[in-house]
């Protein structure tokens, strides 16, 4: 009994220590805000600028996979603050995510950065994001709309001059993902990334042809303690050339990977190519992207520091950095003021040695993993106050979502909007027909919104699935109906409150004037965003 009491005491101490440290951090932040607010009137006169934003999110929901009787809640809080004084900027971010489910770990962090910027020098220490070229060598980015935070912590220096920019970096990477209703840090490692990037427009010509060119070169090196052969550094190097001729623009990037073969050791070699070309005219635009790489992935199995880009619209990658080949074509045209048309045809797949390069690029054979996306959309304005948009998306996913081998989605949709001046009405209909190798189902959705500019938008949306295939039950449960009521309220132009009640199937949702990626959900959500 004595030992039990000791364990309890020990737990209490460690728990209070942990809780106490967070309490102190949060307290420090509140005091920090109080101090700057008190000093702000006089500070403004002294060129001190204080700005920031806040996003607070509260969920009250039921997770049928865990317990249908008890409601759970989540709090997410993200506060950003910036202090600028002449050429110096201090930036701080406080992030806090607290789920009520004790099976999930809460996440909190305080990020900061200090920056000195005066042409031609820009030096930053702290948390930062960096993409070299189009991302073949290094792509550490923040995607707040999709809760994907890939950052570096360390030093970044930029030097500008002679139509060139030299960037030097050193930092410890941190990749945070939000999936399956929780945040996870995928690379809790001691990895260290160092790199240099040079972009120059020194070969620019002033000529009647509008011929312009720029080139770039880069080198990235990673230090990993778990490499079996530490002398064989993991490194990527490459370059790019950009050539513009009037409205026609071409870009080519190459990267080579020299690293340690995971778990086995020895030298791993890989390379990758990216080519894009585009024609931009008033009323017409076409862009073509091509990608081909093998063993270019830089990082661990679940995370990448370079994240080679995919040429498809949804950004799905079949086998990030291991081997992929694909292309994407996008055509956008507005032949008349009242009509615009968009057409997309994109494909990405794993390499297949049995096929020729041409076949590999265009065909999706049964034994290959891949995604084929096709879409067509038209937007018309029959009158100045009305808008009709309609289209169809067709997606084939092969060996992407386990346990389904092949899934085909076809989604026709129609949206109508009429602006009465003092208020507007928007209505939408869509149908998603899903065919898979195991079973088929159809989702039908209808929505109607009424809104007043700069005041509110009230949306009612309902979606129904005709049947649930067994493979989907494990992932999303047996839900077949998602009714949802949303009120988006502009408290002022700088404060927006969004209240959602009902069920969400998940995915990219645009409503109340804002687009976000939503996780599957059933319950109540309140989101307050402020900017100051």
């Amino acid at each position: 009994m004595k030992s039990t009491q000791m364990i309890i005491d020990k737990f209490q101490i460690s728990n209070f220590k942990k809780e106490g440290s967070l309490k102190v951090r949060v307290g420090t932040l509140v005091i920090f805000i109080l101090l700057i607010s008190i000093t702000s009137p006089s500070s403004f006169a002294q060129d001190l600028r204080i700005t920031g934003s806040n996003r607070a999110e509260y969920w009250l929901f039921v997770d049928s996979r865990l317990d249908s009787a008890n409601y759970k809640d989540h709090i997410t809080e993200k506060l950003k603050l910036s202090l600028d004084y002449k050429d110096i900027t201090l930036r701080g971010i406080f992030f806090f995510w607290d789920p009520s489910l004790h099976s999930l770990d809460k996440l909190y962090y305080i990020d900061y950065a200090a920056q000195y910027k005066k042409d031609p020098v820009n030096i930053m220490y702290g948390r930062y994001y960096m993409t070299f070229g189009r991302g073949l060598c290094l792509n550490q980015f923040l995607d707040e709309d999709f809760n994907n935070d890939n950052s570096l912590y360390g030093l970044k220096a930029e030097l500008n001059g002679f139509k060139s920019q030299l960037t030097l970096i050193t930092g410890k990477p941190r990749n945070i993902f939000f999936e399956e209703l929780q945040y996870t840090i995928k690379n809790d490692t001691t990895d260290k990334v160092r790199g240099a990037n040079l972009e120059t427009r020194i070969l620019n010509f002033n000529n009647p042809w509008g011929l312009n060119t720029s080139i770039g070169g880069r080198y990235v090196r990673i230090h990993k303690t778990n490499d079996l052969t530490p002398k064989a550094f993991t490194e990527l190097f490459g370059g790019n050339i950009n050539l513009k001729l009037g409205p026609w623009e071409n870009y080519f990037e190459y990267a080579q990977h020299l690293g340690t073969i995971p778990k086995v050791g020895g030298r791993l070699k890989g390379d990758g190519y990216l080519f894009t070309t585009g024609l931009s005219l008033s009323g017409f635009g076409i862009s073509l992207q091509y990608i081909d790489y093998k063993d270019l992935g830089f990082g661990g199995a679940e995370y990448r520091y370079n994240e080679p880009p995919t040429p498809i619209k949804s950004g799905i990658s079949v086998n990030r950095g291991v081997d992929e080949v694909g292309y994407g074509v996008a055509i956008v045209a507005s032949p008349f003021d009242f009509l615009s048309v968009e057409i997309d045809n994109n494909k990405v797949s794993t390499h297949n040695k049995n096929l020729s390069r041409f076949e590999e690029l265009f065909y999706l054979k049964e034994n290959m993993g891949g995604v084929l996306e096709q879409g067509a959309k038209a937007i018309t304005h029959p009158t100045e106050l009305s808008e009709i948009s309609f289209g169809v998306d067709h997606i084939i996913k092969q060996k992407i979502e386990l346990p389904v081998q092949k899934k085909t989605e076809t989604k026709p949709y129609l949206e109508l909007q009429y602006d009465f001046g003092t208020f507007f009405v928007e209505a939408g209909l869509e149908q998603t027909m899903v065919t898979s190798d195991t079973s088929d189902y159809t989702d039908r959705a209808a929505s109607i919104s009424i809104g007043k500019p700069e005041r509110f938008v009230l949306t009612l949306r309902a979606e129904k699935r005709d049947r649930v295939p067994t493979w989907l039950i494990e992932k999303l449960g047996e839900e077949t109906f998602w009714p949802m009521l949303e009120l988006s309220l502009d408290l002022t132009t700088r404060h927006n409150l969004r209240l959602r009640i009902g069920g969400e199937k998940g995915g990219l949702v645009c409503s109340g004037g804002v687009c976000r990626f939503e996780e599957p959900f059933r319950g109540v959500k309140a989101v307050l965003t402020s900017i100051f």
């Binding site: 307290g27 509140v30 700005t51 607290d98 507005s334």
Partner: protein, 199 residues
């Protein structure tokens, strides 16, 4: 012993929950409330707009100071995947010539990541946007202006003060932006402009 272990686990869980509920949440609630009040008070102020230097889709350098020499600046954060952002920029298209005559510089700041960059210029030109379209794949501008939702638009006056911030877009919101711009130029303002110009 088994019962002891169960009581420890039960105590640990309930203690953790209680601590979390009692200790963090009031701080968070206080923080949110304070930020709300602070942010509301800040609205009365006219903060300076942070300086920036960006590349437009043609590779030209665009900086705030050179834009402000020509007139006030309107800028909107958008992305190819953001329907509402595109609707906002399309809705402002008919006012471009009027804004241009008032000296307003219009900037569309693309938040598309590096992989989508090649599509930005063809998309903007095909939509017949005359705005200066700049690229921000590393979200430097989004951090600088503390943007939390897409789209968000700003108007900066020639004294380099942010005089208007607007989050999101709903059909009809463009009228408010138009009113602000006309106000700023001192032209065609409906009613009393004084309060509206310095929100």
């Amino acid at each position: 012993m088994k019962q002891d272990n169960r009581s420890i686990t039960s105590f640990a869980v309930s203690s953790r929950k209680r601590n979390r509920d009692l200790q963090y949440r009031p701080w968070i609630a206080l923080c949110i409330l304070f930020v709300f009040v602070f942010a509301h008070a800040q609205e009365k102020e006219l903060p300076n707009a942070p300086d920036f230097t960006l590349q437009d889709v043609d590779g030209n350098t665009v900086c705030l100071d050179s834009l402000l020499k020509k007139g006030p600046v309107f800028m909107s954060f958008w992305a190819l995947w953001c329907k509402m952002c595109i609707k906002e920029l399309d809705a402002l298209k008919p006012y471009y010539d009027e804004f241009d005559s008032l000296g307003l510089q219009m900037l569309a700041i693309s938040q598309d990541k590096a992989r989508a960059v090649p599509k930005v210029k063809p998309f903007a030109l095909s939509h017949k946007w005359k705005y200066v379209v700049v690229l921000d794949p590393d979200n430097i501008m989004r951090d600088l202006y503390n943007v939390q939702a897409m789209p968000t638009s700003f108007i900066i006056n020639q004294e380099k003060k942010i005089v208007f911030v607007h989050q999101g877009y709903k059909p009809g919101d463009e009228e408010i932006i138009v009113e602000k711009v006309r106000c700023l130029a001192g032209k065609n303002c409906k009613g009393d402009c004084k309060g509206k110009c310095h929100e």
